[in-house]
Each structure stands twice: as C-alpha cells, then as structure tokens.
Symmetry: C2
Subunit: 354 residues, 2 copies
C-alpha cells in the first residue's frame, strides 16, 4: 500500500473533500508544524492546548478537511459512539416513527445508530456477537415481542442495554422503559363498558409478547368486575396487519363480540379490514379500540379510537438512559413507567345519552 500524504496533491483546487487519501492526524501535525499529540488534544474536549497551537492546528485541519477517525479513536477511548438499535418487527408501521425518532435523537447527541434486524433470528448469542464485534457502546432493544433471553444476553455480555417498550417490573434485570400494560388494559375495558358494550374481546398480540399478558390481565380484571359483562381473549400471531386481519377472520367464524380491544393499532387496522370485507360496519356493527396512537390512526380513512402510548417520551427516556448507563455502567437496573391515555376518534359508538 502506498501512502503519499507527504507529496503534493495533484488536484488543481484544494477543497476539503477533493483529496485522494483520507487525511490523518499526522498530515495535520506536519502541516501545522506541531506534534501529533497537539493535534489530538485540539480535538479532545478538555485537553491542555494553548490558544496559539490550537489556532494553528485548526487552520491546518480545516485547510486539509480533516476530521478525526472515530473508530481509531475508539481503540483507546473505548467509546465508539455506536449504539445498537435492535428490533424484530418491521411490519408494524409504527416502527418507522420509532426509528425516525431514535435516529434523530441519537444523531443529535453525536451517536450513530447501528440497526440490527432480528426478524428471523432465533439465536441470542449471535446478535450479541454481531454487536460486540463492532464494540457498540450500548444497545437499545426496542420490542415487546423479543424473548427475554435476547436482552438478557446483552446483560450477561456486559453490554449496556435498555429495553424500550418493554415490560416494567419492580426488580428488572435490565433497564426497562415502557407503559403500565395492565392499566392500559383496564382503561380499554372501562372505555368499552362505559360505551355500553357488554360482550367484549381482547384481540391481543402474540401470546408470548410481554405486553400482551399485562394488557389481557388488566382488561379481564376490569371486565369481570363489571356487572353483566362477558370478556374473552384471542391472540394474534404477530403485531402486524396480517395478524389483526387473520385474528378477526377467525372471530368472524364464531360469535362476533360487540367491541374489540386490539393489542395494537396495526391489529385494529387488520381487524377493521376483515370486518369491512365481511360487510360489518365500524362502529355501527362492531366497535374497535387500539393501542399506540400511531400516525396512521389519525388518517381519516382509518380514524381509529385508541389508547395513546407516549412513544416520543419513551424513546427520549431510552436514549437518555442508555447514555447514563454507558457513562456509569454500575447502576442498578430500573423500570420507568409511562401512562396511557384515551384518544377519541371514530371507531367506538358515542357515549349513551344520560
């Protein structure tokens, strides 16, 4: 390999980016007539450099279009500024909003998201290896359907990890940011009952998802406590349109309930489609209420009544938290719980007249 950074470059114009070989510390040091340490320190917060050399270095650096190589730096600082963003559901449109927010927030903090798509991965260790090879500073697992072993694997591997949209508990094994799922189920049941629905069903996500269980519990608790209300459960194969669609198709073969609490907005939309195909009108024949309040819920073709999960807040909290843990890894994991609220739109019948 030929390094020729010392020889004059051939380009007729000397703009920062018209160089053939990446500029290194050494190039800048030479040009500025100082040691490489001086250059390094100029680019290191809080290091000791006189204003004079700093100016010389900055001049040389900007003339050469130099910017430090984060990866080389990471070798000694042990910080890559890389954050693994692990997800396993690319079917639910809400995740586009989620990625949008995560990527912006991370970028704004000088971090870079390294996406890991676990859609068809079953080996926790493999995903750990994938991220360890890149020495990510930390990992944000954003999923409520990923088996616990996955997030556990990061803990065991000593990689700082935050589980976003996970299930908060009193003594979590890793940091968790999520919502009170049972409250969410309770709120749904209360809302449906208040609307006068009597035969109601929870059309949940995958039975194994951490979110499903809590929502089912809260829903059933409240429903069973109410006079004359019968509540049932049905799980969908995934948090996706197809999941909701097929779930509702199955319902349509039997006794259709008066209203459904869907485990996610996307399930509601799938259900809505199946109902439409079967000639049932929403909300006239069947009521629907979802969870999330994703962007699409407010589209007027959808116009979905739903329970808002404060995703922006959850995401912000996750990013802040991972930064904290990276800075000081010896923290006891904590749960942070956000609360849900009802968002009224057009898929439930109005409150009965008093």
């Amino acid at each position: 390999m030929v390094r020729c950074s010392n020889e004059p470059r051939l380009s007729w114009r000397r703009t920062p980016f018209e160089t053939d070989v990446p500029i290194t510390l050494k190039d800048v040091a030479e040009k500025a007539g100082v040691s490489t340490s001086a250059v390094s320190r100029t680019f290191t917060e809080g290091a000791s450099v006189s204003t004079k050399t700093r100016r010389k270095v900055e001049k040389a650096a900007s003339e050469l279009g130099y910017s430090p190589n984060v990866l080389a730096r990471s070798l000694t600082t042990r910080r890559t500024q890389l954050i693994g963003l692990v997800a396993n559901n690319f079917e639910n449109p809400v995740f586009l909003e989620v990625f949008d927010r995560f990527t912006r927030l991370l970028q704004a903090r000088g971090l870079r998201p390294l996406i890991v798509n676990l859609s068809e991965e079953t080996e926790p260790d493999k995903s750990v290896t994938m991220l360890r090879q890149y020495s990510v500073d930390g990992v944000i697992v954003v999923s409520s359907t990923l088996p616990e072993d996955f997030v556990d694997a990061f803990r065991v591997a000593q990689i700082p990890v935050v589980h976003a949209v996970g299930r908060p508990t009193d003594t979590p094994r890793v940091d968790v940011i999520g919502v009170a799922n049972d409250d969410c189920g309770r709120l749904a049941a209360e809302t449906l009952i208040a609307r006068g629905y009597r035969r109601i069903t929870f059309l949940g996500g995958p039975e194994a998802a951490t979110s499903t269980e809590g929502r089912a519990r809260g829903f059933l608790e409240t429903a069973n406590a109410a006079e004359g209300v019968t509540a049932r459960l049905r799980y969908c194969a995934s948090y996706s349109y197809a999941g909701g669609y097929n779930g509702m198709r199955a319902e349509l073969e039997g006794d259709v309930a008066e209203a459904y609490f869907c485990g996610d907005d996307i399930i509601s939309i799938g259900a809505m489609s199946a109902l439409a195909e079967a000639g049932k009108r929403v909300p006239d024949d069947v009521g629907l209420i979802g969870v999330n309040d994703m962007e699409m819920a407010r589209w007027s073709v959808i116009d979905l009544t739903t329970i808002r999960q404060p995703l922006p807040e959850i995401i912000e909290a996750s990013v802040s938290r991972i930064i904290e843990i990276v800075r000081d890894p010896d923290q006891t994991p904590t749960s942070r719980t956000f609360h849900c609220e009802l968002v009224e739109r057009g898929t439930l019948r109005p409150l009965p007249d008093v």
Copy 2:
C-alpha cells in the same frame, strides 16, 4: 486503566460471555501458546496456518468466547463492513419495508447498516463528515427527493455511493438504481385513459424530486397525445400522507378531476382521505392510481390500484452494486433501470363495456 486479562477470572462458570473485559487476540494467543499473528491468521480468510495451530487457536478462542474486533481490524484492512444508509423521508411507510429489506440483505452479507437520518439536514458536507468519521465502506442513498448535491458530495469525497430509487440517466455521475419514471407516467396516463377518464391530473410529489419530473413528463406526453383528454399537474409538498391530503384539499377547492395519478401510494392515501372527508367516493366519484405498491396498498381498507415499482429488486441491486464498487472503486458509474407494472385493485372504475 487496568488490564487484567492474564489473571484468573472470578466467575464461577466459564461461559463465553461471562467475562469482564473483552477478550483480545493476545489473550487467545497466550492461551493457545502461539503468536498473535497465528491467531490473526486463523481468523483471516486465505491466510497461511497449519491445521494443527488452527485447531489449537480455535479451541482457545471458543473457550474464551473470542471474536475479532472489526473496528480494530478495519484500521489496517481499510474495510469496516459498515454501509451508510442515508434517507430523508421517515413519513412514508414504504420506507419501513425498504429498511427491512436493506438491513436484512446487508446483514446476510456480513455488513452493518449505519442509518443516517437526513430529515432536517441541509448541509451535504455535514452528512459526508458524519459518515467519513466512521469510515463507512460505502453509502447507499435511498431517496428520490434528496438534492443531488448530497449524493454528489459522496462522490467528491471518494466514498463509494449508490443512489437507490434515483433517476437513471445515460451518463450518471454516480451509480443509480431506479425506475423509468417517464414510462411510469405514461403507463398511468394510458391506464386512466383506457378507463374512459378524460379530465385527469397528476398529483405529484415535491416539484424538486427527481422522480416527479419524469413521471409528469411521461404522463403529460401521453395525455396530450390522446384525443379529448385534458391533463393538469399539481405538486404536493412531500411524499407523505399530509402531502397528499393537502394536495387533494387544494384540488377540492377548484375543479376536481375525474381521476388522479398520484406520485406515490402514500399520496394516494392522503388524497383518498381528503376525498372521503369531502363526501366523494372512490372510485365512483373520483378515480385514483398510485405508485409503489407498498404493503398497505393491498390492505382492504385501502385497496389501491397502483403502479408497482419493483422495490425488492431495486434494493437487491443496490446492495450488490455497492459491494462491487467497494471492491473495485474505479468503475464508471452506470444506471440500472427497472420497469413498472400495473397492479389492479379497487380505486379505478372498471374498463368500459365494449
């Protein structure tokens, strides 16, 4: 900093991931009783190692749970296996499919996607710096609305770049993979005219988007060549639900056309919502045809007639191409053009009886 990899570890069980400090080459070398070079070569394809040492090394490595540090390696090999994935539209749900496919494909090839969200970035150089600091091997720009300066900036910075979903031309400045946008516009116009629509309008994306111009051109060409057909144009502010919604709202204030060719499925859906709110039925009162054939287009609540852009193929081609360019950067940029096809669903009136 204290390195203590030589001292016995304290954990009661010796599983690969229950170590406190990341395992390095040296650890493995020591344990296997060989030099670090031997270890390195064991993990380097095509290097010269005897079967005996290879076995010793592999044993030690797996006992220690060692996997090489890609970033450290990249210093000498000049390959990080990192691919920048640059996008600026996180509002169009089709991008979730796009990300899903890209991330899977890249992972399958041993590459890692580094997402860069350019939603609110206006400085091309900044995005270049962001990616150069991480020495990405290459960049895939996936957008038809990003100003050309951005992808140009990568070219100038000598970073291998592929522009996916871009506008193919005869002499592209960077590699481009996309569709024949004017064919796409032509196909739309032909389809609408065949259905007997006479007053038709192109409800395009942002006027500055590379895709919009070609589609408009093909659309107008064909429409103007047809007897008794009048065609108009209206641009939407963005490829998003809101873009389409507001675009159609503006239309509704004037002369509503008989049918609309929407520059993207998501624009169709926005338009559809605005129409529904105005009490217009699709396709009875107004016809709609989109572009993309995104997942949602087949949802029965949407059921959108559309022109399919072969995204899976475009994405596969983009990944293959970036790998080629990374391997051999001195290639003349080429365009690769895919063709569109009509997908019939429920938002156009049927063919008139013959």
